[in-house]
Amino acid sequence: MALEKQEKRLVAEKGEHIIARHLIEDDHIKEEKNLVIDGVDVSGRWNTFITTRVDSEFDRAFFQEIKETVVGSRINRCWQCGMCTASCTVTPLYRRFNPRAFIYMMQLGNLKELKKYVDVAWRCVGCYKCSQRCPKQVNPAEMMEALALLIKKYFPEELEGKLKIDEEVKKIYEDMILGHGRLDLAKLHTSSMQKMGKTKDLIGKIERDAIFKMAKDGRAFSILRLGKPHNWGKSKDAIENYLKNVKTIENEAM
């Protein structure tokens, strides 16, 4: 059985023959499956090359780029105490999401390292605990926005597979913001339950009791009266105009 398997596999895995292969990251191994140099076949392990892990420059142009954005303007303040990561809601769930480290990589322009975190860099939930506790008012929560924008700019290809926008959810949000000028949590909850196919749970016993209670003490009506932000019509026009322009630019680019 084992023999059969071996025979089937024609091409060796990248860097397979390296002793203690697990210590070397995939990115650092260069190996061409088919390579012929001067008529000599040096395919596979015959051309394996391990690149150095050593960082050999600090890229301050990158730092300047972030500093010039609104959300990243305080990047020069960070002294790496780790208060943000310690406060973070996401880090306990995703160890690899580390705001402190991301800020440091941004400071030193270490794109090579940042690239490894394309999949988790978007995980910030925007609770702002880090920004509230930061001793130097770096505003790490917004720094994560700067990071997200940057990742979008520098690694569009890597991002493609990692991040898919759910058009349905996007539409719910857009309609909510453009229609009411604010997030409507009740509607958001309803929509998400509907999307998950849990419409029945929306009117369970607990919910029914809550609705009854809220109707009785008047809270239900105050929610309905919340209304829209002052002069919303003008803002709405501006946002719609902006979205239209963005779409035009995108279409032109295509």
Binding site: D55, S56, K67, Q80
Partner: protein, 347 residues
């Protein structure tokens, strides 16, 4: 008859002691080994002092002028104490000067012999003296004083500069375990000065801890927040030559846990303070105690930091350990008070 008090050392602490005692009417003899007053700040032409960036001349120059013009102070330049004997509660001291030997009786003695900058050449990993572009903070201070901070190797303005902290401090390998207290603040001060002088020059500080204690912290915050000085955690283990006339700093970024080898145009070593050869010399001549770090040992570090183990001999300034100029001046005043009280009591 007025008291006679001997002050050994004409740096900030010694000058402060001498001028205060002279103002009280005491006959002060000030022994200075160099041909000028001002100690290390004068010797290495310090230009601006932290934390408020005031010109060094406002402090050191002012003290020198006050000392030189006071008629109660007799200054012995290029001199040393050649003989020291106790005479009851007083002291018979022979001062060896270019004008010959002079023996006097003093009521009390203040030792303010100061410190020496650590010589980075002693720590071979930093390649000091091997590469022209590897300098230390006292060299850079002198360069600022002389108005030329271009690269020593080719006279061009540097494009990126690295500061390396804790050179000759907190390092068992060179025999100094203590923190030299001022090098962090001096480094961030110089980083700011460099950024102001060369706005296009990138400045990095490699650190293990940044110890800008007390209000010196303001300067550290200013360096980062207003001058974009970047701090990188990790001590540099090796300095080698790089391409295009650069020097490469090799180290580990302990926050990212990865090695780096970055080429720089100029590297500034934040060399620390040492007791120098004068501290054991004083200890031997005057019968004082030395501590395990090579500085003179005070009787009680908390209660009487300026009293020595010998009654009537007082200590002031950096001879008892690394100190900022402001601390040395404070201690000069404190030691002067104690020396005066001792002299009055034993009149």
């Amino acid at each position: 008859m007025a008291e006679n008090i001997l002050v050994i050392g004409g740096g900030p602490a010694g000058m402060q002691s001498a001028t205060l005692l002279a103002d009280l009417g005491v006959n002060v003899s000030l022994v200075e080994r160099d041909s000028y007053l001002g100690g290390n700040p004068k010797k290495f032409k310090y230009k601006f002092l932290f934390p408020d960036m005031q010109p060094a001349d406002n402090v050191i120059g002012e003290l020198i002028r006050k000392t030189e013009t006071n008629s109660n102070i007799k200054i012995y330049y290029s001199s040393e104490v050649s003989d020291f004997k106790e005479n009851g509660k007083k002291f018979d001291v022979t001062i060896k000067s270019p004008n010959g030997n002079e023996t006097k009786t003093f009521d009390s003695v203040i030792v303010a012999t100061g410190f020496e900058h650590f010589d980075p050449a002693r720590d071979a990993k930093y390649s000091y003296q091997l590469f022209d572009d590897v300098i230390d903070i006292k060299d850079l201070e002198r360069m600022f004083g002389e108005g030329n901070v271009n690269r020593p190797s080719n006279g061009q303005p540097p494009k990126n500069v690295a500061f390396i902290l804790c050179v000759g401090s907190r390092d068992r390998h060179v025999g100094n375990q203590y923190c030299s207290r001022v090098c962090c603040t001096v480094s961030v001060k110089q980083a700011i000065e460099l950024r102001e002088h060369f706005p296009d020059c990138e400045v990095y500080i490699f650190y293990m801890d940044i110890r800008t204690y007390g209000f010196f912290e303001d300067l550290y915050w200013e360096a980062m927040e207003e001058h974009d000085v970047q701090i990188v955690k990790g001590r540099v283990a090796e300095i080698t030559s790089g391409p295009n006339n650069t020097v490469i700093c090799k180290g580990e970024d302990t926050l990212l846990r990865g090695p780096f080898e970055i080429p720089f145009d100029m590297v500034v070593l934040a060399s620390g303070m040492e007791g120098g050869p004068q501290s054991p010399e004083m200890a031997k001549k005057l019968g004082l105690e030395l501590d395990e770090h090579g500085f003179l040992k005070p009787q009680n570090v908390t209660l009487a930091p300026f009293k020595s183990n010998k009654k009537g001999v007082f200590l002031a300034g950096a001879c008892t350990g690394p100190k900022a100029i402001s601390d040395s001046i404070t201690e000069g005043g404190a030691a002067a008070m104690d020396a005066y009280v001792y002299a009055m009591k034993n009149k």
